[in-house]
Subunit: 210 residues, 2 copies
Amino acid sequence: MYSTKCKKTGDFHLSDPQFQKLIQSFSSLPGIGKKSATRIGFHILRMDPTSFQSWLDNIEEAKTKLRFCNECGGLTEEPVCSICLSDRRENGILCVVEQPEDIFFIENTKEYSGKYHVLNGAISPLDGIGPEQLRIKQLMNRLDSGAINEVLIATNPTLEGDATASYLSTVIKPMEIKITRIAHGITIGGTLEYSDQYTLGKAIKSRLTL
Amino acid sequence: MYSTKCKKTGDFHLSDPQFQKLIQSFSSLPGIGKKSATRIGFHILRMDPTSFQSWLDNIEEAKTKLRFCNECGGLTEEPVCSICLSDRRENGILCVVEQPEDIFFIENTKEYSGKYHVLNGAISPLDGIGPEQLRIKQLMNRLDSGAINEVLIATNPTLEGDATASYLSTVIKPMEIKITRIAHGITIGGTLEYSDQYTLGKAIKSRLTL
């Protein structure tokens, strides 16, 4: 759309290389298409130089200071994160998630007070991601320490997430550690009508006695 | 969502100030909410340092090099843009738009080969934007030169865009310059059913003899 040479005038106004690079920078971010990137690009060009510089500095500073925890793989500014270091959290339970951001979502529920372990992905043979590409070795090392008595698997309810969960379950089982999986079912506030057949099926299979 | 202190553990993990600043940087951009900003934030943190640096450099370079044309107000790397300088475009017709990006959209149609004038907004008394806040004085100066014989008003079909169009029409009329407005009507490929009543009404009023 923005790289056409105008047939009438021969102008290359639409494909200004600097503007293209600006658009490209934003459309390379997840969830941003070309149209949004163009809007953001113009927003950046309209910013006064001081606000722009502090905007840029904030991003650069965060990128420099933030890192992933050596222990759990979650977000932190220190070598080991505050959750891993906390003595007010249950040490015996480890929640396994695919991505560092999943820790945010689970923390937000205020229903979990154990520790975490981030895999950095899920098993996906088609994308060439096997157990070796994930932080599974680090997980096994933590389990070997003997302090953990429950592993709560909170990978996503997708093909990859389920494959990862069943792989983990197979390798952890011999260690005699309790293995649990977060429940899948009808969304709170949702209706049966709008729930897909697989979720509804799963909710029936996992029914609870009241 | 990301600034709650966990009641159980007292951890401030969710409100890491660096991460908050990163999220804030992205959610301040148009069309990006907190959830998308979080996704983008993690994407940035996962980028390798070299790609991150070149990402940052591209944005900074574009911001430094790009500016708005002294003549028309459109996007350019030079003091005056290539459209204004082009001798292959009609000099007698000036298309008036609200924003520099509107030039992109009109150029893309390949139906216009005149020059442009960007107002940098539209008249909106509620937001304190009157004719003085827009590039209307510059427009009048260009019209005063006598080279222009048609002004095509392409402001948006909104309350503000229409108010601007009618204001421009009032001030330009005494200059004996032809004033036109882009047509509003049914979207190409659309159906009457899905066209709103105002657009359909306008399409009937502006009907053309075949």
